[in-house]
């Protein structure tokens, strides 16, 4: 009984760790640039595929399987640079537009990236092979949990702490918060908005691509994984509150764990439960649980 419960919860927390990374990218971009980036799921898919490519290149050239997590993460982070191209090439033209158009531009990215992935990696599901259990399994309260999951959870928590340090304690973080609060005032005080936006969007994209890369040993990559994840990340940020990092963290835990419980108790409920919570939160507290200060 406990073993089963631990299994369900650990599965949920692993999923939450991944969701947090994607949602954190979404929150960062929304908080500063006020753009709800529908393409964050596509960045996640992009990260997954390039992670696979990096790992297979690494093991194909004699790299030790035990170190596969290094090329995996690097592959994920490197492809995140596409965010810079997207921001400079497309998004910067629509900052003054109505948010409908900004939303539609990110929808255009969703469409394009899905086919870019199909063109580059094909339509068949891809995976890293048997590397998932390369680090063995740990026994926790009678259940077995892959050590890889624990590493990812730890990495995600470390990134959450790192983000809160970056935003709260560094000069760049202060500029980001100032820009999120009042763009005109920050600009008047001499902040170069162009560079802030470019850096923020690239960072947000990298969080998403890293999330995609880290999830992939546990599952298989498919070209539709992006549009499926965006609705979950969307649930996370709505529950947590748009633009709030703490909200992303709590929201990811709520969505990840509840979904995991729902699947084991009554599979039909799965995402239905999540959407019902989303609707309840939107109606009861449209700013989300932690979004009072944002927007």
């Amino acid at each position: 009984m406990t073993a089963n419960l631990v299994n369900v919860i650990m599965g949920g927390v692993f999923h939450a760790a991944i969701l947090f990374l994607v949602a954190a990218g979404l929150q960062l971009v929304f908080g500063v640039q006020k753009i709800f980036n529908l393409a964050c799921g596509s960045f996640y898919a992009l990260g997954a595929y390039s992670g696979i490519s990096a790992v297979s290149y690494f093991t194909g050239h004699g790299g030790s399987p035990a170190l596969f997590i290094v090329p995996l993460a690097l592959g994920g982070l490197a492809v995140g640079l596409v965010g810079l191209v997207v921001e400079r090439g497309l998004l910067r033209f629509v900052y003054d537009r109505d948010e409908t158009f900004q939303l539609l531009l990110t929808f255009a990215l969703v469409l394009m990236l899905e086919d870019v992935i199909r063109l580059t990696w094909g339509t068949a599901p891809a995976s890293t092979g048997g590397l998932y259990l390369a680090y063995g399994q740990a026994r926790i309260l009678g259940s077995t949990v892959p050590v890889y999951n624990l590493i990812v959870i730890a990495a995600s928590v470390a990134i959450a702490l790192g983000m809160s340090y970056l935003l709260g304690r560094t000069a760049f973080g202060r500029i980001i918060r100032a820009a999120a609060d009042n763009r005109e005032m920050a600009e008047a005080l001499g902040v170069d908005m162009r560079s802030v936006y470019a850096r923020v969007f690239t960072l947000g994209t990298m969080l998403g691509t890293l999330g995609g890369a880290l999830v992939i040993p546990a599952t298989a990559a498919m070209s539709e994984m992006g549009v499926e994840l965006i609705v979950e990340a969307f649930a996370v940020v709505v529950i947590g509150g748009l633009g709030s990092m703490r909200g992303a963290f709590v929201g990811a835990l709520v969505v990840g764990v509840l979904r995991s419980i729902a699947i084991s108790v009554y599979p039909e409920l799965e995402m239905l439960l999540i959407y019902l919570i989303v609707i309840a939160v939107l109606l009861w507290r449209p700013r989300g649980l932690f979004g009072a200060a944002a927007a």
Binding site: R97, F101, L103, L104, L111, M112, L242, E270, L272, I279
Partner: protein
């Protein structure tokens, strides 16, 4: 436009062309006209919300799905095959669903309205996907060939039925829907909606019940979407949950933007161009999303007025160029 004669002429020419299509064009192109007409009805309603009221729904596929599934359930489970009854039932079902959903959604605007509609759409999507016994799950349900005007059209094979009676039936529905929408947008009700779009605060202080008008617009657009969805089902033959997925809602917004949301006929043009362009692109290059994504990005950045915006700009040189 320069004079009122020109649009009337264009309209008459387009009307005549659409009536003559089944006689002149190869059946393949005629069958492509069917989704155009179905989406035409959907988009007319959608634009009442988007173009006229200023609310962008990212869950409108919910009501397309309600319409399509109404048709499938009635024909396969209840043996009701009369298309007129199906359309009526779809409209009623959509109104019943849209009343509470709309009442909740119109309390918000902009991004929150979009998110709430998206969430409701995904609730219905997961319901369709997971409750296999009721809905057929991811395989969906078959939509049997409906009777039109009380006749089975038994002598027609599938293609002949679609390019003949069903084509003219769809066209009639589209024409009625267009005339009705024209009445709605030129009525005082339509004027109030535009006032709400441009300045909700002022509208409120002029005594317009902003939420109530938005709610009514939401319900009308939902009914249109369901009627369009019901029209869409027979040519597809099988309705499945992808009809309700959020990307389908995104495509609906795309079509309206493509044609031009600021114009009454823009959405119809958008549906037409979207469907035929998609078909053309797919015949030479399977990755239509790449092309369409680029088209959408171009529209958003360079031509937010859509195709109608491009046409309309030329005859009006007095309008100041905006930088």
């Amino acid at each position: 436009m320069n004079s009122p004669v020109k649009p009337a002429l264009i309209l008459a020419a387009v009307g005549a062309a659409v009536i003559l299509v089944p006689l002149a064009a190869p059946p393949y192109y005629v069958t492509l006209m069917l989704p155009f007409m179905a989406y035409g009805v959907v988009l007319l309603g959608f634009n009442l919300l988007f173009g006229y009221t200023g609310l962008v729904s990212f869950g409108h596929a919910l009501f397309i799905g309600i319409g399509a599934y109404t048709g499938a359930v009635l024909t396969t489970r209840f043996g009701i095959r009369h298309m007129e009854v199906i359309l009526l039932a779809a409209a009623v079902a959509a109104a019943v669903a849209a009343a509470p959903v709309g009442a909740l959604c119109v309390r918000y605007v902009k991004i929150y309205f979009g998110m709430l509609t998206l969430a409701f759409g995904m609730v219905f999507y997961t319901f369709l996907l997971k409750f296999y016994r009721l809905t057929g799950g991811d395989e969906g349900m078959r939509m049997l060939r409906p009777y039109l005007l009380g006749s089975e059209w038994a002598g027609f094979n599938k293609t002949a039925y679609l390019v003949g009676p069903y084509y003219y039936f769809s066209l009639a529905v589209l024409v009625v829907a267009t005339l009705l929408m024209w009445r709605i947008v030129s009525s005082p009700f339509g004027l109030c909606l535009r006032t709400i779009r441009d300045n909700p605060l002022k509208a409120e202080s002029l005594g317009i019940g902003v939420s109530r008008y938005r709610w009514h617009a939401f319900m009308i657009s939902a009914v249109y979407a369901a009627v369009g969805g019901a029209l869409l089902a027979p040519p597809i033959g099988n309705v499945d949950p992808t009809l309700v997925y959020w990307t389908h809602s995104g495509n609906v917004v795309f079509m309206v933007l493509l044609g031009g949301f600021a114009s009454f006929f823009g959405p119809l043009l958008g549906a037409f161009v979207f469907i035929f362009l998609q078909d053309t692109v797919m015949s030479v290059f399977p990755y239509w999303r790449l092309v369409f994504g680029a088209v959408l990005a171009f529209l958003v950045i360079c031509a937010p007025g859509g195709l109608m915006g491009l046409f309309a700009r030329r005859p009006v040189p007095l309008e100041p160029e905006r930088g």
